[in-house]
Amino acid sequence: MTSSPSAGTAPHGFPAADALAPSRPQANVRRDGATGLARLSFLIPTIYIIFLLLPIYWLGTMSLKTNQEILGAFTLWPTNPTLANYRVIFTDPSWYNGYINSIIYVALNTVISVSVALPAAYAFSRYRFLGDKHLFFWLLTNRMAPPAVFALPFFQLYSSFGLIDTHIAVAIAHCLFNVPLAVWILEGFMSGVPKEIDETAYIDGYSFPRFFVKIFMPLIASGIGVAAFFCFMFSWVELLIARTLTTTAAKPIAATMTRTVSASGMDWGVLAAAGILTIIPGALVIWFVRNYIAKGFALGRV
């Protein structure tokens, strides 16, 4: 039992903070049942993150070493850090064009995917129509179809349209798996918006396009962001189709990396530098959407 608090405070009065504090030291702690074990639980994610970062760190150090240093004595960090490898990439057009190509087709793909997915997701979330459920499943199967199955006919299809080695070809081909995903994510977010909002807007005299752009899209802005992020992500990391559909003019950076095998053996330093450079755009994009990541992975539905 603690000592009884000071008497004589007014009925609605308010005891001075220090009058009661001595009898209840450190009482203002929320109890979460944090046992000793629970306090150590941060170790699991920490170890996991170290595991994730080690290989990336290794690539990073390699990119700052010369080939002699890489193949010579084994060191945990570069003894003579050099930016020479990066200089090679930024001065050679066939290297940095790979970057520009990747960014162009990824951006194109993101824009196309999200803009066609928006009306479709709206239709799926608001209406029932002939064959809707089967259509939805069919879209999803494309997300699941192995790209290796399609590689060759893809090449021929796009050649017969004269699209080989263009950015738009890769952008459209990536729609195969990005559009279904975007529809899926957006449908989840849209279903969270009450239908009454649509009806109120129509009563207020909004036309459908104006309602969609002015009222509805701001409401699901985070959903659009999440969908765009996923489209960016899957278009950026995909290589098989991108490589099949390009030769030189639209060749992605990831495909350019195979060039480092030369007569004199592997150019490890440049390869590592190119690898690090392909990680950076992804890292930047994650940083921008960090507050939506958890929500996005729930696909707006949980």
Binding site: L130, G131, S160, F161
Partner: protein
């Protein structure tokens, strides 16, 4: 633009025409009798006509594959089996 690389043959053309015909047929059926007559069959969850068609087609594909792998190249009996299977699916699933 040439599409000769698609290498159409009559059997595959007939195959795809049949599939599209089935899809259109289902569409017309759905238009005439909307709702897809959902019911809970032996798989213990709700299926509609479209689901049953999908299960029949996918199942038939596997029946043909097994037939080719285990029995032999003549698929006529396999097709008959598929038809029987599809009827069962439409009846009980």
């Amino acid at each position: 633009m040439t599409l000769s690389w698609m290498a159409w043959t009559w059997p595959t053309a007939i195959f795809f025409i049949t599939i599209f015909g089935l899809l259109i047929g289902m569409g017309v059926w759905e238009y005439a009798v909307p709702g897809g007559s959902p019911r809970v069959g032996i798989l213990r969850f709700e299926t509609t006509r479209g689901d049953r068609l999908f299960v029949s087609l996918l199942g038939s594909a596997f029946i043909c594959l097994f037939w080719l792998g285990l029995v032999g190249p003549s698929l006529w009996w396999a097709l008959a089996l598929c038809l029987g299977y599809a009827l069962c699916v439409f009846r009980w699933v």
